[in-house]
């Protein structure tokens, strides 16, 4: 009895999990599973330029469909991931990549987390040291 319920549950879960596979919209058939994985990876990394907070894999915009078809064709023609990305950057700019390249105008973006982390650590060290040298410091201030 439990097993039949479990089967139904599993069937439902399977169907739900399959939905993303259909979401891409058009049937692009890969005979090579490795290529298919690369395709999935690439379309997730690339931005749909019409609806800019969606990636190419999820978007239903006509341009996203065209670009997926283009990526598919380039992959079938044996182009590498970098060549495909460069193809899109040449036409749409770095914006098409979700992960921006390290360049002079994106340096702040890349360095900021490290700067903030380092700065924060510095503040913590200074505060801790002050307290270490002057354990009664807080009481002194309140009195």
């Amino acid at each position: 009895m439990i097993s039949s319920q479990l089967k139904i549950f599993m069937a439902v879960v399977t169907v739900v999990l399959m939905v993303p596979a259909f979401a891409a919209g058009e049937p692009l058939i890969f005979t090579d599973p490795e290529k298919e994985a690369r395709y999935q990876q690439l379309t997730v990394e690339l931005r749909c330029l019409v609806c800019q907070n969606q990636n190419l894999a999820d978007s239903d915009a006509p341009l996203a469909q065209d670009l997926r078809r283009e990526i598919y064709d380039m992959m079938q023609a044996g182009r590498t991931d970098d060549e495909i990305k460069q193809f899109l950057i040449d036409r749409y700019g770095d914006f098409v990549l979700y992960k921006p390249p390290v360049k002079s105008n994106t340096l702040v973006l890349w360095l900021m987390p490290a700067v903030l982390l380092f700065g924060g650590a510095l503040v913590v060290i200074i505060v801790v040291r002050k307290r270490g040298l002057n354990p009664g410091g807080q009481e002194e201030e309140s009195s």
């Binding site: 330029l49 019409v50 800019q52 006509p62 341009l63 065209d66 670009l67 283009e70 950057i89 040449d90 036409r91 749409y92 700019g93 914006f95």
Partner: protein, 179 residues
């Protein structure tokens, strides 16, 4: 004393950062085209309504022109249409249509209804040539010089102001107020 100023200074710096960020964010949906300053891509497209006539990038070169990406399904194209017509009628710039992902029948009916300002109209049914132009929505317009180099790209509709301030000054001969 100086210690008390540190949070204020940090706050001011943060405020500046956010102000700059907001200013940039104003334009963030407009993606600067990497194609500006480059030659127009190579293409060969059928003329709209004349499938046996093909138009290539070489055919367009010779004098400056504006490529206007439009489609009958594009509502904003209707709004900019009178301005495109006005520009074409003024004779100051050749306007070439790039009919983007459209049905031929719809496109021709649209031109008949709203008027046809285009010196030439190319039909990009698949949208493949538009990808080479980095088009991501209609309307878009590309100003191209006589040698085929892209001078300016307008994303979204053309307005009389953009035509006067951004487009026409760029093709005026040197010495007549060109920046």
């Amino acid at each position: 004393m100086i210690g008390r100023l540190v949070p204020i200074i940090l706050f001011v710096l943060l405020g500046l950062l956010l102000a700059v960020g907001l200013k940039i964010a104003d334009h963030k949906t407009e993606i600067p085209s990497p194609l500006i300053g480059k030659k127009i891509p190579e293409f060969s497209l059928p003329a709209l309504g004349q499938a046996d006539v093909s138009i290539t990038n070489e055919d367009l070169i010779g004098q400056p022109f504006l490529i206007n990406v439009w489609a009958s399904w594009c509502p904003t194209c209707r709004i900019e249409h009178p301005y495109v017509e006005e520009l074409a009628a003024s004779g100051r710039l050749r306007v070439i249509g790039l009919n983007y992902r459209d049905e031929e029948e719809d496109a021709l009916a649209w031109l008949e209804y709203f008027g046809d300002p285009y010196a030439l109209n190319m039909a990009d049914v698949s949208g493949r040539t538009a990808i080479d132009f980095g088009v991501y929505a209609a309307p878009e317009s590309f100003l191209v010089d006589a040698d085929g180099y892209i001078l300016f790209k307008q994303i979204g509709m053309l307005t009389p102001e953009i035509i006067e301030k951004e487009i026409l000054p760029r093709i005026q001969p040197a010495g007549s107020g060109q920046p």
